[in-house]
Structure formats: structure tokens, C-alpha cells
Amino acid sequence: MVRLMVDAPAAGSDESAVDAFLQGGRPEEHPAQGEPSLRHAPGPYFGNYGGRWMPESLIAALDELEDTFEKAKADPEFTAQIAELNKNYSGRPSLLTEAKRFAEHAGGVRIFLKREDLNHTGSHKINNVLGQALLAKRMGKTRVIAETGAGQHGVASATAAALLGLECVVYMGAEDCRRQSLNVARMELLGATVIPVTNGSQTLKDAINEALRDWVANVGNTHYLLGTAAGAHPFPAMVRYFHEVIGEEARAQILDQTGRLPDAVCACIGGGSNAIGIFHGFLDDPSVKIYGFEAGGEGVETGRHAATITLGKPGVLHGARSYLMQDDDGQTIESHSISAGLDYPGVGPEHSYLADIGRVSYEPITDSEAMEAFRLLCRTEGIIPAIESAHALAGAIKVGQRLAADAAADAAAGRATDAGAASEKIVIVNLSGRGDKDVATAAEWFDLLDKDSPEAEIAKEGEQL
């Protein structure tokens, strides 16, 4: 049953939000002890967020999807299929790797990386696409459509479609197609059709708009395989469900490897699917602090960023009520980030709720901070992270340093214990994807390319190969 809801009044001007943020951010709140569980929130609403802000034409399809999903979750055959694919196709469980040399730069705390980069197709995205493609088959749909920014979700969707024998069409901004020509080729090798989107700003949000237009016209045989934990109900709760395995594994692995829960969990936030997946495992562990790191772009004070929760205001876009980067007229503002995967002006509604109740702290990480963390992980651990994940790494450095400072303050106050020492603090970082796709961007950023090379030419024009 869908609950009617009332809109909250809009907050102050954009300028005052920036000022408030720069002066210390949103008020600190903590969930009271004994509160009901935050896990498995079913939607359609997460507090004041979520819902279905969608054309009537699509409501029947959303109802069908919700019904199919609910039945599938309760069907042992479906859950067994997912488990089998996760194990024998994606390569789960993904490792939890301690990053000892990297951790030296994070206040000396212990840092563990949840290695979603080791999954088939190179990121967490595979968890969701396999689940949704199986649901598409259950609904008797023969065609899936998807949006993609840098191409990661498009490649994952094309992969799942190839595996399950579905037709696949991927919408991608025309500019992104040009910048990501290798990913376009990957999708085509996998049998997908890539349609360049030339409408609007020609970015990820316009690719979503175009996918929605396709879905309205072809909903009879087509499932829209949305790539993140946003959109209309049931997408946010459903996409989270398929990614919950990240948090379940990480929680069990850290208990196994260290004998206790972590002090903090860090993830990057674009739409927020990798983050909600790992956060979910720890939402009901009050001792675990949870951090989401948004793309601060060139700096939140410049206006060129994708820090939706940090600076956005509640609004409705692509089917959900959530924080949104918008101007005073309610027009969506273009986001900016060196990371195409975080370059989205919206965010999943459950994150907006977790921000409002104070369970998760959301902070921006600039392009520069992310790239420094990117280089650091490459050189200390021999792991090239996705630039998206580098935002989480940069955030973990800050969190580690804060934990170390707290430990030092405790020691100075005579409260030092072995368990309180910085070297005993534990931080888990969700390494959501590998950085092979980002080599051209990184090479350009660090000025590693010959001036006249074709790669330099491409990197100059775009953000990524």
C-alpha cells in the first residue's frame, strides 16, 4: 500500500547551504539506542524519500516488477540461482584484503579493502545486473535496456544479457560514447546495441531519460535494468537487495580475520549502490561509524561537483524523492566529477534518509584528494582502484587520521587502553571497482603521457578512455 506524503518545505538558498556546509555541515544526530532495525527497509519510502514519481504508463510495469521481485526473494530456487552465479560466475565471495602499507598514511589504523574490483567485469555492478536479468527472465521479458555513464553498468548489463540470452540496448550520452569508445566496443562485443543520446546535456541523466522513454514505449517485452539504488520503487530496495552480499561478506570476513567489528566503514556515493550494499551489513551495529564519500569535483565551493547530499535539496528526479542538485527553479543542475561513475546529480533515496537520521555521515572528496589516494593505493598496495573507489580511499585516510587523533587524545587524558590504540582501530573500505578503465584519465592527471600520443589527445578532450 502506498502511503501519501507531504512535501517538506524547501530549505534556504544555495548560498546559505554552502555557507552552512563550510561552517561545519549538517547538524550531528545519532540514532537512539533501541531503535527498530534499519536493515531490509522495504520501500517504497525511506522516511520522506523514495516513492514513485513516475508517469502512469509505467506504474503497471513497476507493480509487475515489485511483485516478481517479492516472489523471487521468497523462492529458494531464485536465491539458489543467485548464489550459484555469484560463486561460479562472478567469483564471490570477494576478498577482504588488509592494506598495511596504505594504512601507514591513514593515521596508522588498520585498513581492510573489500575487493569488489576482483568480481567478473571488474566492479560491484555485476551483483545487481545478474539479479535483475534473472527477474527479467521470470517476467518473460526478452529485452533489457540500461543507461550508462562511463560504460561500467552498460558493460555489466551487456554481460548479464549475453549470459542469459536477452537482447540488450544501452543508452549512453553521445559525449561519453566518444570518450569511452573502448567500453562501447566491449558492449558491442558482448552483443549489445549502444545508442548515443544527443538530447539535453548528453550525460548520464539524459541517458536515463532516454531509457525511460524507450521503456514507456516497449514495456511489454522490455525490462529497464537500472544501474543504481535510485529510481522509482521497487528499484532502490531491489538494487540494494542484490548488493547486500557485499556487506554480509565483509562483516563475516572482518569478524573472522580480526575477531571484531570495524570502527568505520567507508564507500563512495554516486547513485549509491555499492555503498548501500556494504552499509547494509553494518546499519544495526551502533559501534560502527559509516561514511559515504561524494564527489566534491573541483571543490564544493566552486559549484563544479556532484556532492548531492552535502549541498543538494530534496526534490524528485527519475522516479524518487531524494536529495537533488537543482537550481531555484527545480531544474536539475549538471554535476561534475573526474569520476564518471559518481557524476550524477541525484542519489538513492535510502541514502537521503540515512543522512537525515544521522546514521551515515556524507562528506565530499575533491578530484585532487581522490587522485592522490588513487596514486597512493597503486604504489603502496599494487592495486589500481577505480577513481570512484579512490574517493572512498581518500575518505578512509581522513577517517583513519581522525580515529588516530581520538586515540591520541584518549591516551593524553589517561584513558589509553590496548583496544583504544590507533593501531587497533579498524576501517573497511569498499573497493567498488578496478581502475583499468581509468588509466587514461590518471595518466593525463599525473602528466604521464607523451604530448603527441593519441591517448593524450583523447584524454585532453574527455575524462576517460
Partner: protein
């Protein structure tokens, strides 16, 4: 509290302007013509002039669209027009100027068609207050379903505005009933599963959607999406209370300005009269 489509439960000054306009056409033995124009395309002044031309050449209701950054229900022609209006600096508040400009010169009912976020941003109550003050009849809301419309239900009651929700070929009987019950003025029947844009023929689904809406209790049902010629209008006028034309009018103003809008409207209106039974 439920409110009926024709506004029976409201005071006289809250009588539906859209329903009255449709009923006037009905009294003349014809369907109503509803024309769509995007505000600020190619300019606010042109939209007002074209709206007046619509009314003077046979349109009974006028639908003014607010250009929006993410128009998921619109096809290429309307997207191009609204993108251009935004690029030229259109502001949402200017829609009230357009509405006032048309209602002060004509007796057509003027509705605003808008995606929901611009209304949320201004504040649903404030937007409604300003629309009513400008003489507007109500809102057509392509991405707002009654399930999410509590605030709009309250504001539209408070300011006596029509709330035109959409029904589609995919709407279940339950949803059809719910949407018809929530609507006031008329119900917008989407003729086809798709987005706005001229099509060579009217989908046969349109007639079924109208029948389903009537079965759910709708007193006034108007058909839109893909309607672009007088022969389409004639076909739909046989079974619907109103015919909504959008893309063809946008193409007209794009290619021939206000004069082209006037002549297309005159031509479209020739299809309105119902055949004698």
C-alpha cells in the same frame, strides 16, 4: 475525503474551469480542442500571442508546458523546444505571466502542464496560489500519480484548481478508478504507450482507454499523444470529450510562428464536430 471529477463538492467559485470549457463545446455538439504550447518558446511574448491565436481559432482549452531539464514523457520536437527555452533563460515564474496574458484576453481555460519538481521547488501551495491568481484553471501532471499527490490534492482544493492526472493503456481497473476519482476537470487519456510526438495514425488503444476511464466513472475524458491532424481529431472526437494536440502545434510555431499556429488550429477545429448518429 474524496472529491468528484466535476467538482460537485466545491463551492460555486471553485467550479472547474476545464469542465466548463468542455461542457460549452459539448453543448455545441462537438468535442473540445485542447492545444499545447511550451512557455517561453520561442519567447514569453510569442507564447502569449500564440495562446491567444489558439483561443481565437477554435481551441477551448490551452495547455502551457513548463520547460524542464528532464522531460521523460516528451519526444524530440517538444524536447528541442523546451531545451531552447531553457537555454534562453526561461524561468518558472514566467509561466504565470503567460497564463495571465492569455486569460486576460480570451475565455479559454488555461492549464499548466508540468513535471513535478519545479512545483516542489517553488512549494506546492505557493505555486498553486500564483497559478490561481493568474487565472489558471489547473495542472496537468505527467509524472505525478495520485498516490504521491497528497499535497497537490490539498492545494488544488484550497485554490479551486483542476487536477488532471493521466491514465494509460497499461492502467489497471483499480488504478483507473483511483486516478479518475482523484481527477477534477477531466482525465487525460494517453493514447499510446510512448512519449509525445506526431504519429501517422491514432492508436486503437485510445478508444479502449477512454472506455475504461468512463467505466471507472470519468465524466470528461480527453485524448492526447500522437494527435496531429484534423482527421485524427475527427476520429477521436467520435468517442472522447476533448482532443489534445501538442507536437504539431510546437512544430507550427517553430516553422511558421503565431500565424502558423492560428491556421493549424483553424484546420484542426474542423474535425471537432461529432458525426450525426
Amino acid at each position: 475525503m474524496s472529491t468528484s471529477q466535476d467538482g460537485n463538492q466545491h463551492t460555486a467559485q471553485h467550479a472547474s474551469k476545464s469542465a466548463a470549457a468542455i461542457d460549452r463545446a459539448r453543448a455545441q455538439g462537438r468535442a473540445a480542442l485542447i492545444g499545447y504550447l511550451p512557455a517561453g518558446y520561442p519567447s514569453v511574448e510569442d507564447t502569449i500571442a500564440a495562446g491567444i491565436a489558439l483561443a481565437e481559432n477554435g481551441a477551448d482549452l490551452i495547455e502551457i508546458g513548463i520547460p524542464y531539464s528532464d522531460p521523460v514523457m516528451d519526444g524530440q520536437v517538444i524536447q528541442a523546444a523546451t531545451t531552447e527555452a531553457l537555454a534562453k533563460g526561461f524561468h518558472v515564474r514566467e509561466v504565470f505571466e503567460v497564463v495571465r496574458g492569455i486569460t486576460s484576453k480570451t475565455d479559454a481555460a488555461v492549464l499548466v502542464m508540468t513535471y513535478w519538481n519545479p512545483v516542489v521547488r517553488m512549494g506546492v501551495d505557493e505555486f498553486s496560489r500564483r497559478l490561481a491568481k493568474a487565472g489558471g484553471a489547473g495542472l496537468i501532471t505527467p509524472d505525478l500519480i495520485p498516490d504521491e499527490a497528497a499535497e497537490w490534492m490539498a492545494a488544488s482544493d484550497k485554490y479551486g484548481l483542476d487536477r488532471v492526472f493521466l491514465v494509460a493503456p497499461s492502467s489497471s481497473p483499480e488504478r483507473m478508478k483511483r486516478t479518475v476519482d482523484a481527477s477534477r476537470g477531466f482525465v487525460y487519456a494517453v493514447s499510446i504507450m510512448g512519449v509525445t510526438g506526431a504519429r501517422t495514425s491514432v492508436s486503437s488503444a485510445a478508444k479502449d482507454v477512454v472506455a475504461a476511464a468512463r467505466a471507472a466513472g470519468a465524466e470528461r475524458v480527453c485524448v492526447g499523444l500522437g494527435v496531429s491532424t484534423a482527421s485524427h481529431v475527427r476520429e477521436i472526437a467520435e468517442y472522447a470529450d476533448g482532443v489534445i494536440v501538442g507536437t504539431a502545434l510546437v512544430a507550427a510555431i517553430r516553422d511558421g510562428g503565431v500565424d502558423a499556429v492560428a491556421s493549424l488550429t483553424k484546420d484542426l477545429s474542423t474535425g471537432l464536430t461529432k458525426e450525426e448518429a
